[in-house]
């Protein structure tokens, strides 16, 4: 069992340091411009450690982590799939890395061509008419999307439309986005099969409807079967449809949001199109739009004139909602997405959707055979599925969280727990297309073994994890006492 790694300050020894990493002494002359009151009187409280200690400390910390490179990571709704190293390798070419974002367009035609082609490929795979790459992450893309919906209504003199409809199976960030854009959220229920309640939708649409935010397949891991009907009801009421690209991996190359009737979509390029994510970024939340929202796209967008490429700015798109970021987005992530799509090609893209779906359905079947309950037993899974451990919690007094913690002992990252909120004691499991059948089988075996333990020796499950450097954390206390600052027991 690995020991708990200490805080780096606890390795500090006075006078120790990494002299070759030390910044050059700027000298008194360089400091002369700094007013005395802004100069610190005491040195900063940095740890005094040697270079080797720093290397070992952070290497050990990295080894305590669960990651896709080390473990199966079926974290539902997050698409924690393997990102081919080739994408990283090509995006790290010095010609890309050394390009200055303010370099003249004539010096960056290769990069601009990649971005233009990325826009074109994303348009094709989503069925949209225009794509803008600048939003920095999913939530940023959502903001851009709803801002465009509002701009559209305002441009038509219909500014009263400020209601965004959000089904309870929508992605969790959607209500937050609508609120950030100054809209009022109207939540509607889903039926027992996981589809949007059409009667509730009809009752809530009206002259105030700005639009609806949906993800399809939904957060319940099932495909919204009446999406055509949903689109008709919302469009007839004068609203627009927003597609949250959180679950795009499931339908890649199979169904296009544009064909389902969506007017605007954001894509988590870091998720579906190859960038390691989950660590807080960087991401890329490109947005795609249909005909009606083309004039409102955020700037800059890459345009092509003859054989040359250039940034389209406000002069080209006078109705744009404007800039959402300095420069043009997270170039490194956009490049990885471009390379990933070029490597896969059209057929590869289709296989992503097929295997993501096949793997999820295989695991769903195996796990239900092993004695687990599917939340939607009459539905086929999309790229992910939900188990409900309500029965186990009631009969064995072992919760979904206990299963999640015990899985760590078996060498698996836990699935998403207690989300979506409307399914009690749930595990949301997303295997992704990049896992082999052997890995899927090993996970099913571990889950069966834990179920056996839960009935024979429940303490082993409810007391898990047993092999991790940290046992069960007191998450209630951590949430109530938010001070996480490490304080030295003695001054260094």
């Amino acid at each position: 069992m690995p020991n708990q790694e200490r805080v780096i300050f606890e390795y500090s020894t006075p006078g120790r340091g990494a002299s070759d990493q030390w910044p050059a002494d700027p000298g008194e002359e360089a400091l002369a411009d700094l007013p005395p009151r802004l100069r610190r009187a005491t040195p900063p409280g940095l740890p005094e450690v040697g270079e080797l200690e720093v290397v070992r400390h952070f290497t050990r910390l990295s080894q305590l982590n669960f990651s896709i490179d080390t473990h199966f990571y079926p974290l539902g709704s997050c698409t924690m799939k393997y990102n081919p190293k080739a994408c990283n390798q090509y995006a790290m070419l010095p010609q890309f890395l050394a390009r200055h974002p303010l370099a003249p367009e004539s010096c960056g035609q290769g990069f601009l061509e990649c971005m233009y082609e990325l826009q074109e490929m994303l348009k094709e795979v989503t069925g949209m008419r225009g794509v803008a790459l600048s939003p920095m992450a999913g939530a940023h893309g959502e903001f851009a999307g709803v801002a465009m919906i509002r701009a559209y209504h305002q441009a038509r003199g219909d500014a009263v439309r400020n209601e965004i409809i959000v089904p309870e199976a929508a992605h969790g960030t959607n209500p937050a986005t609508a609120t950030m854009c100054g809209c009022v959220v109207r939540e509607i229920p889903v039926d027992s099969e996981g589809d949007v309640d059409l009667e509730a939708l009809k009752a809530v649409v009206g002259p105030n409807t700005a639009g609806i935010m949906l993800t399809n397949p939904s957060t319940l891991g099932v495909f919204e079967r009446r999406i055509g009907e949903v689109a008709r009801i919302v469009h007839d009421a004068g609203g627009l449809l927003y597609y949250d690209g959180a679950n795009l991996n499931a339908i890649l190359g199979k169904v296009r949001p544009g064909d389902m009737g969506f007017d605007v979509i954001h894509m988590n390029l870091h998720k579906t199109f190859s960038t390691p994510h989950g660590g807080g970024g960087p991401g890329a939340g490109a947005v795609g739009v249909g005909e009606r929202l083309l004039p409102f796209m955020p700037i800059p967008v890459v345009g092509r004139e003859g054989g040359t490429y250039r940034w389209l700015e406000e002069a080209d798109l006078p109705h744009s909602i404007g800039r959402l970021s300095a420069f043009m987005g997270n170039a490194g992530v956009l490049l990885r997405a471009y390379i990933y799509m070029r490597l896969l090609g059209r057929d590869g893209m289709r296989r992503v959707g097929e295997y993501a779906t096949l793997n999820a359905n295989y695991m769903l079947k195996k796990l239900t055979e092993a004695g687990f309950d599917a939340a939607y037993p009459r539905r086929r899974a999309s790229h992910e599925f939900i188990l409900t451990l309500k029965r186990q919690a009631r009969d064995l007094n072992v919760t979904a969280m206990d299963f999640a913690k015990r899985l760590l002992d078996y060498g698996f990252h836990a699935p998403t727990t207690y989300f979506p909120l409307l399914v009690p004691e749930c595990l949301l499991i997303e295997p992704t297309e990049t896992e082999s059948k052997d890995t899927l089988d090993a996970f099913v075996t571990a889950m069966s073994q834990i179920l056996k333990e839960a009935s024979e020796e429940p303490g082993r499950v409810s007391g898990a994890p047993h092999t991790m450097p940290v046992r069960r954390l007191d998450d209630v206390r951590a949430a109530r006492q938010l001070d996480l600052t490490w304080k030295p027991t003695a001054q260094p």
Binding site: R394, L421, V476
Partner: protein, 132 residues
Amino acid sequence: MSNVPADLKFTKSHEWVRTLADGSVEIGITDHAQHALGDLVFVEVPEAGRAVQAGEACAVVESVKAASDVYSPLGGEVVAGNPLLATQPEAVNTNPYGAGWLMRLMPAAGAIAAARLLTAADYQKVLEAEGG
């Protein structure tokens, strides 16, 4: 088995309502709801004087699992939010029908009848139907 006091009225969305002597009502979340949410770490209650509609989200309960809106079972004007919960959100867990009340409301005329609140027996049936 959840505690469902016979003298209170309930909603399908797991709020309870108690009528006080002055005609105002006290509102909170049920024992079943607090159990489903788990240990609460943050509670936001409405300010006195706020007008709320029936079905309007008017309080937030947050646990380590989830943050949920609490919907007002009936329309009226907020008389008070429970000040205790700012520092002791766990009161909702330990005493959901007592010290853990969320808000007091003066109902609008006819609001109680319009709310179609459930009796304890009917709420118990809702819980059974949910498998709780």
